[in-house]
């Protein structure tokens, strides 16, 4: 069975895990950048565009060197980015439509070329079909080296141009007005993206690389509003899903790495969407419930307060339920609200089905009104 010891005993697995972890964390960071720039479709485009690149590289060189395949993937990725660059300033609706179309074209081209490439005698040996969904068994030391070198190269522009990347993502107009050239920064981002996709196509595969870049930042975003923590969490989630996914795929015969990793990343994202504080769906649901309840409380108290002005001679003058209900019809049960007001000491039940505001309640309302006047 799987245990912490045979991770280190098993050389192949160690390499596969290290590669997936490294890849996951850089994808987390690049993905965060793409998310902040709202360029999910560009991410998908570049990963699909790798497909024809790999096929062409194989057809032309007839090699099984992964490095050559990756160079092919990078070149077509670059071609795709250059092709869509005039669209960057276009309106979002247009952009999405055209991007989706170009993406499909690249994908179809990739499938056509792959079919052709697989008819070649050395296709099975070169293992090009693993580029669709990724494969852990091809994780050799040389592949880990490729990932490590790309990660190193990606971290340089990320560190150097972080400030510019951030301001362009947040406020491109202001960035341009402060003399930061949009074209240069887009080029830096494109280079980072293409590099990251090339690093990932072996382990995760062309089909799911886009998801690898989308899921970790999406999950991380649910937990924090701080960009530094966001980057850290995104890298962490990417790394965790990388490790878990490749371990899973190693132990289940015939399971490609890509889907395994993405399932793990998807699980993290799903949990984050539901259970994260502040942004998570559960939290939002309970907060809106409690807000509704407190809004109801104040509304009914206000009704009682207004009614009490009719009878200034008495401290407690009961008003029937039907009157209160008709002045302020609530969706929630008015009885429960009234009893909650009673337990808080802001209202009191004076008779059967009759309620009145207490002096504390009046004081509360008057303070509340003072707040409004201010």
């Amino acid at each position: 069975m799987f245990s912490i010891f045979n991770i280190f005993e098993n050389y192949t697995l160690t390499i596969a895990l290290a590669g997936a972890a490294l890849l996951g964390s850089i994808s987390g960071i690049t993905g965060t950048l793409a998310m902040l720039k709202r360029q999910h479709l560009t991410v998908n485009l570049v990963s699909y565009a790798a497909l024809p690149g790999i096929a062409i590289a194989f057809i032309l060189t007839d090699t099984n060197s992964h490095l050559i395949f990756l160079i092919g993937a990078m070149l077509t990725g670059l071609l795709a980015i250059v092709q869509i660059s005039p669209l960057i300033r276009k309106k979002r609706g247009h952009q999405d439509r055209i991007l989706t179309f170009i993406l499909s074209v690249f994908f179809s081209l990739g499938i056509v070329l792959f079919t052709f490439a697989q008819s070649k005698p050395r296709a099975a040996q070169a293992g090009i079909e693993t580029f669709f969904f990724g494969q852990p068994s091809v994780a050799l030391m040389s592949d880990l080296k490729i990932i490590a070198v790309i990660a190193l190269f990606l971290s340089i522009p990320l560190l150097l141009f972080w400030k510019e990347l951030l301001i362009t993502a947040f406020d491109p107009v202001y960035a341009a007005a402060s003399g930061i050239s949009a074209i240069k920064i887009e080029a830096v981002f494109a280079a980072i993206l293409i590099g990251n996709v090339a690093a990932g196509v072996q382990t995760i595969g062309v089909m799911l690389m886009g998801a690898m870049l989308t899921a970790p930042p999406l999950a991380a975003r649910q937990w924090t509003n701080n960009i530094r923590i966001l980057l850290f969490l995104s890298a962490l989630f990417g790394m965790l899903s990388g490790i878990a996914g490749s371990a899973l795929s190693y132990h289940i015969q015939g399971l490609p790495t890509g889907p395994a990793i993405i399932v793990c990343a998807g699980l993290i994202t799903f949990l984050s969407f539901f259970f994260a504080p502040k942004r998570g769906l559960c939290f939002v649901y309970f907060r809106s419930k409690s807000e509704q309840a407190s809004a109801g409380l104040e509304a009914i108290l206000e009704v009682l307060y207004t009614l009490s002005h009719q009878h200034t001679d008495k401290d407690f003058y009961g008003h029937p339920y039907s009157v209160i209900q008709s002045i302020f019809p609530l969706k929630t049960n008015t009885y429960t609200i009234l009893s909650e007001l009673c337990t808080k000491g802001l209202a009191v039940q004076t008779g059967r089905n009759e309620w009145s505001i207490t002096p504390e309640g009046k004081k509360y309302m008057e303070e509340d009104l003072r707040g409004y006047v201010k």
Binding site: L160, K163, F170, D171, Y174, A177, N226
Partner: protein, 289 residues
């Protein structure tokens, strides 16, 4: 100019030089001037043949109906859109290398307020232009940012995420970001849009402080009621330049008719100016869009 010192050809040269000298001296008092500035989007002119000057040290309103090219004018000065014709000079020199003297405050609605950065981080972006590429903001820029936040009464919110602020507070930190830039000219696009009364006062007081410190401030403004109260200089625009100068000279009924006239809004606009009470039509129109 007719100062007779020489005769014949020499005199004509002297005259010519005197004129250019005068022109030069006059330009010294001008922060920004444009000549024949024309900008078009898809063959539809947004600005047509604009000759205008923003004198140094004024608080100027840029007013005009919707689609008059107010924002386009700012964008052209900043080099964000390319003019089809004409020249822009900043402090007497072609605008290309002079843009570092300008701070810009875009419309608040331009950015994604859900962006995961703190108020201080956003204000620090104002220092990026002076830092240049690669350099990171240091403690000096941090101090500057905090000072700017203090100026607009927002220093206690420095660690909050920008999306948690109200519209008025967001506008104030936008202003703080422009203040950090330490510029000589401030170009602002509707800084009063969607803010409450108190914030409007804070903003206009900050702008006045800037002007009193010798800075030049040009503001795209839509509320005709407050133009005379807030500004001392105005440019009235409707694709073409209608009028420019001291506010009282610009805001005449005739000029306003030229700018806004023909539209159904004119009657109520006139009403606005005479009574000063009815809600400005331009604002109402804006909401419709």
């Amino acid at each position: 100019m007719n100062i007779k010192l020489f005769t014949g050809k020499k005199q004509r040269h002297a005259n010519k030089r005197a004129v250019t000298m005068l022109e030069y001296l006059r330009r010294l008092d001008v922060a920004i001037h444009t000549e024949d500035l024309t900008v078009a989007y898809n063959n539809e002119p947004a600005l047509w043949d604009i000759d205008m000057e923003i004198p140094k040290g004024v608080l100027m309103a840029i007013i005009g109906p919707n689609g008059a090219g107010k924002t386009t004018l700012l964008e052209a000065i900043l080099g964000l859109v390319k003019p089809n014709a004409g020249h822009i000079h900043i402090f007497g020199k072609p605008s290309k290398k002079q843009r570092k003297f300008i701070a810009y405050l875009p419309q608040r609605t331009n950015v994604d307020w859900d962006f995961p950065i703190s108020v201080l981080d956003m204000v620090l972006m104002g220092t990026y232009s002076s830092l240049g590429w690669i350099m990171r903001p240091n403690s000096a820029s941090r101090r500057k940012a905090l000072n700017a936040l203090k100026m607009v009464d927002m220093d206690e919110f420095k660690d909050m995420q920008i999306g948690e602020l109200s519209a008025s507070q967001q506008q104030k930190i936008f202003l703080a970001r422009a203040l950090v830039q330490d510029a000589d000219v401030f170009l602002m696009d509707e800084p009063f849009q969607g803010v409450d009364q108190a914030t409007e006062k804070t903003i206009i007081n900050t702008l006045r402080t800037l002007r009193d410190n010798g800075k030049t401030v040009a503001v795209v403004h839509y509320d005709l009621q407050t133009v005379t109260e807030y500004f001392d200089w105005a440019l009235l625009l409707n694709v073409r330049r209608i009028a420019a100068g001291p506010v009282k000279e610009v805001l005449t009924e005739e000029n306003l008719h030229l700018a806004y006239g023909g539209k159904s809004s004119f009657l109520s606009m006139e009403h606005t100016i005479t009574s000063g009470r009815v809600k400005n039509q331009a604002t109402a129109e804006k909401k419709d869009v």
